[in-house]
Amino acid sequence: MAASGITQEKEVKLEVNNLRISFRTSNGKVQAVRDISFKLYKGETLAIVGESGSGKSVTTRAMLGILANNAIKEGGEIIYDGQDLMKISEEEFHRIRGDKIAMIFQDPLSSLNPIMRVGRQMTEAMLIKGKLSQREARKNFNTTLKRLNLAMNAARGNDAENTAKCRAFNKFECRHLALENAYNRAHEAATDALKGIDDLLFEIEKNAANTLVADVRVICRQSMTAIERYVVHDRAEELKGKVAALKKLAREPIAEIGKRIILPLFRKQVKKFEFDGEAISAALKEIREILAEAVAFEKPNFFALGYYLTFSGQPLPELSVAETNAELLKYLDENFMLDFIALAKEGLVYSHNVSTEKKKAALEVFERLKPVFSGSEIDRHDAYAAAKELISAVEAGIDRLEIVKDNSAYTFATSLRSAIEQYFGGIERNKKEETRYARQTAAYERKVARGKQPDYKVADKKLVDLGEAAEDILSVIVRVEEDFRRQIDRSGSVNFDERTVAMVDWLKQQASDVAYKVTHNMAKTRALKLLEEVGIPEPRKRYRQYPFEFSGGMRQRIVIAIALSANPDILICDEPTTALDVTIQAQILELINRVNQERQLSVIFITHDLGVVANMADRVAVMYAGKIVEIGTADDVFYSPAHPYTWALLSSMPDLDTKEKLEAIPGTPPNMIYPPKGDAFAERNKYALKIDFEEQPPMFRISDTHYAATWLLHPNAPKIEPPKSVTERIARMKARMTQEAGSAEKPDAPEKAGTAEADAVQPKARKPRKKPAKKTQKPEEQ
């Protein structure tokens, strides 16, 4: 899909703003997450690093709405696809969990059903979600096409023709999908069969083909599925003959190896046979040749083909695939597509202009109504009336034909309502709280006056800070206002051609989702494939086993397979490989990386293993005591770490060259019931300054991508070098890089390093974080 037309920067998938979460416990309120903000871009991997209890799991659990019962959502928002995940209902979460945002948990046993076979657990979600996503895609397709149609009508006025065009698009799109699906199925079967043949040939050669009969059966079935108009067509009869011959060979063993397997109940004898390996190999090679030829064919353009077959009423021209493609594409463009695109573009321009006008109108409304919320005391009646007006103005300003819904206007209504509710509800609750406190203190004092020693304390007042609540309301409004202003400024420079193409692509994508029907068999095939992908041997046997029959590492791999099976948009991995050994860990990381690249998946990766982070992450956020203390690209954080906590983490981990004593971080993380006033890490930090104990450091900007919250970065702070072990290690890494780049064995290494660097810099350009600028000017007290 083409990049969105409106924003030139990377598409934001998920945005966390000022998130604060606490837990109610018998000892007091534990502040788990204290005001963190970050963005997750499309296709990137963000690693969150930190000790246990630093709030990394809580953050991600909030994204899925699975916080514990005693959690208090103190504030902030998590914006995904135009929704605020902190505010949506449980019902709405059902659509998001697993399907859009999937999570791999730390403990695999507790996330598997013990009395259900693994295969069933894997396919269950696929089958249910398959139907659901079909329905949803149909809805998306229909409403968007309808909106587009209306916009076209408004733009040009020729209603009947526009509607006919849209209908035609709908009609031939269905035909296209049917053709393409058939092709895909056959093509996939052919590639699978090729892989299976290669494996089996290898096994026969090594004399280790234990499951020969079953393998041959699978290969035969796949080869037969591969017979299709555009895959194996000319040589179909030949292939059928070969497959039949192969089947016959597999049915007729040449010798019997009298191995007995005694089954416990029946004492049954199972005979083992030997097969003619050479003949089977020869047959397999012949089939492989046919399939390899078929797979190498060029793919026809089914989109054009669908149109041609639906509307031309003529048979296909007898040409080669490339020529046919060009011919059909020309036909399609001349007769339909160019017109349609022009029309759609007009519609989009119209809709965009209308919404820009509405936005300008909304800005006036903002100007007019902002004073209602900015006074020292807000009038209840006025506030609700103003909110209503604001919401309708903002809703009108949304361009519904935009594909990327990452702007805050979508969440405006819920955010504003809840902010106002917070304020007015707070007034009443504060009153109640005051009376309760007065009553209980009086009772307590009466007891003391009578000479008793009460064995309890009066709980503190929990008051809502009304000033802060009012500020929250204003900030919600101001954010949307700024967004609107920015969009109006940018409205002149929107590339509508790109956007139209994106729109058509998106419609095609939705349509293919509608046509993508998941059957039982397909689900099983996919589950088996996934099991193989995550490195489970004998998937066919394992498919029918129960979770307790698997070892810990295997269970984890099953859970990962289940999470991947839903094709999620965002994958959250909560220490998925902590309990696994290196080889499996490497396999799973490779798997996640591959899926990430193939499907443009965004991954949030939680771990405390810095080696894994280096492998996976594009960007790294280091968390400590509920705050992000350092965030930057992987290169930033590993090669030029700035926060003392990052230094400590790096130096406390042995690598292969470490010989000296490890520098462990002394002490334990702070008690988050009484979070420290200053920098939370100051207590354990040997580089702590005096101000660290008094005031929290703001996020200092080191480069466009790299930020850290430590007073050491203040211009007035003394210059402190990272500890020796860290600098030495970085020097060692650099030395290794240059050595490897220079070595003659790998001529492509320097080039690779260069591109890797370019990759690292280029896509991660992001806009600077908002930071509390007022605090940075604080003078240093040493």
């Binding site: 246990s52 590492g553 490497a586 292969l656 334990t668």
Partner: protein
């Protein structure tokens, strides 16, 4: 680490099979041999399910081993009977085959012979000879088997008896040296307690274990003092003050404070719990500690604390450690020698630096290529080597065995591969 040559633990052909029902067996550990010298740290690595934990648990007698033997301080503490049983069965099978062959031969000769008597006599003589040979093998193996069973069952009792005998002799000497009755009484009383404790002594107590999961391995209903002192109490020590002093001492040694003794495990953080586990192991003053993945369940920062603690204890008390882990960076940092296991077999055994500089076995290579390092640029280029035993080895001609390729560097291979590895190392 001074006396490097003294062998503390010797594992010979250790086999540990588990029954899987229907007459099948899972060979969790199959024919593993190694030695641990006094004062060194021996690391065991391998993927999950390769039998490293089972090896550790078999050594400490948590399982009854199937075959092979384990010597600790030159005394056999574990012994399996499988090999003897197999030898007996083999001998009998051979005997039967021999008899059948003789019978056949005798029949043939009888048909053509003139003197059937002498042929039959010859036949009877040969049969008897075979029977005698068989009986000899069977008797030898039976004896060995009986001794193995005895060692497996009564090694602790034998050990206790030896210790008490030694003590009694000492007491006799002390008594002889005494002049008055009063002195005699004091000596008798003193030795009575020591004898009581000695009679409960078990040799396996000289080996202690640290478990992977600090939460699961501590009893939630016991205070830290009880947990740490439990070993001493079972050992027969009744002196409360002595126990308390010892517990406090150990607590301080592992980086906790006296006040922690009265608390319960749930009041501690993960790293502190693991320290309690270590204290519990160390209080028995063991010669060998089997550390079964002691740091893999901990955070990085706490991992470093625990590794430093183990290192300090090792320097201070001169403890030998069998360190089981799957984190190769940690194992490289901590161990002197490393054994690599794959599917119940030891495939390579070498000093740590040698193993990491010159890995030979393809499995070791694949293992080493999978270590993630905190270096993003390097990680982007790292190529993982996959290991497929089918493609790598061809054992159709000759079965592999453990061979020493360089001093201290053992590898599991057959002679063809041995030559190849030698060429790889550049030695003749």
């Amino acid at each position: 680490m001074e006396d490097k040559e003294e062998v503390l633990l010797k594992v010979e052909h250790l086999c540990q099979y588990f029954k899987m029902g229907a007459g099948r067996e899972l060979k969790a550990v199959d024919d593993v041999s190694f030695e641990i010298k006094k004062g060194e740290v021996f690391g065991l690595v391998g993927e999950s399910g390769c039998g490293k934990t089972t090896t550790g648990r078999s050594i400490i007698k948590l399982y009854d081993i199937t075959g092979g033997s384990v010597y600790f301080k030159d005394q056999r503490i574990c012994a399996g009977t499988r090999s003897y049983k197999q030898a007996i069965a083999q001998a009998r099978r051979e005997y039967r085959a021999e008899v059948a062959r003789l019978k056949q031969k005798c029949k043939e000769e009888l048909s053509s012979a003139e003197d059937p008597q002498s042929v039959q006599a010859e036949y009877a003589r040969l049969k008897e000879e075979a029977a005698a040979r068989c009986a000899e093998i069977v008797a030898y193996n039976r004896k060995e088997k009986a001794s193995a069973v005895h060692d497996q069952k009564y090694c602790d009792r034998d050990h206790a008896r030896r210790v008490t005998d030694g003590l009694k002799e000492e007491r006799e000497k002390a008594l002889a040296a005494c002049a008055t009755d009063e002195e005699r009484k004091a000596v008798m009383k003193d030795y009575a307690t020591r004898l009581r404790i000695a009679s409960r002594e078990r040799i396996v107590n000289r080996i202690q274990m640290i478990f992977q999961d600090p939460i699961a391995s501590l009893n939630p209903r016991m205070t830290v003092r009880d947990i740490i002192a439990e070993g001493l109490v079972i050992h027969g020590i009744k002196d409360k003050e002595y126990i308390d002093e010892k517990v406090y001492g150990i607590l301080e040694k592992v980086g906790l404070v006296r006040e922690h003794a009265g608390r319960y495990p749930h009041e501690f953080s993960g790293g502190q719990r693991q320290r309690i586990g270590i204290a519990r192991a160390v209080i028995m003053e063991p010669d060998l500690i089997i550390a079964d993945e002691p740091v893999s369940a901990l955070d990085v920062s706490i991992q470093a604390q625990v590794i430093n603690l183990l290192n300090d204890l090792r320097a201070e008390l001169g403890i030998t450690v069998l360190f089981i882990a799957h984190d190769l960076s940690v194992i490289k940092y901590f161990s002197d020698r490393i054994g690599v296991m794959y599917f119940g077999k030891m495939v390579e055994l070498a000093p740590a630096d040698e193993l990491f500089d010159h890995p030979l076995h393809p499995y070791t290579k694949s293992l080493l290529s999978a270590i993630p390092l905190p270096d993003p640029q390097y990680e982007k280029q790292r190529k993982r080597i996959t290991y497929n035993p089918l493609a790598e080895h061809d054992y159709s001609v000759e079965q592999p065995s453990m061979r020493e390729i360089r001093p201290g560097h053992f590898i599991y291979c057959n002679s063809v591969e041995f030559d190849r590895y030698k060429a790889e190392l550049g030695i003749e």
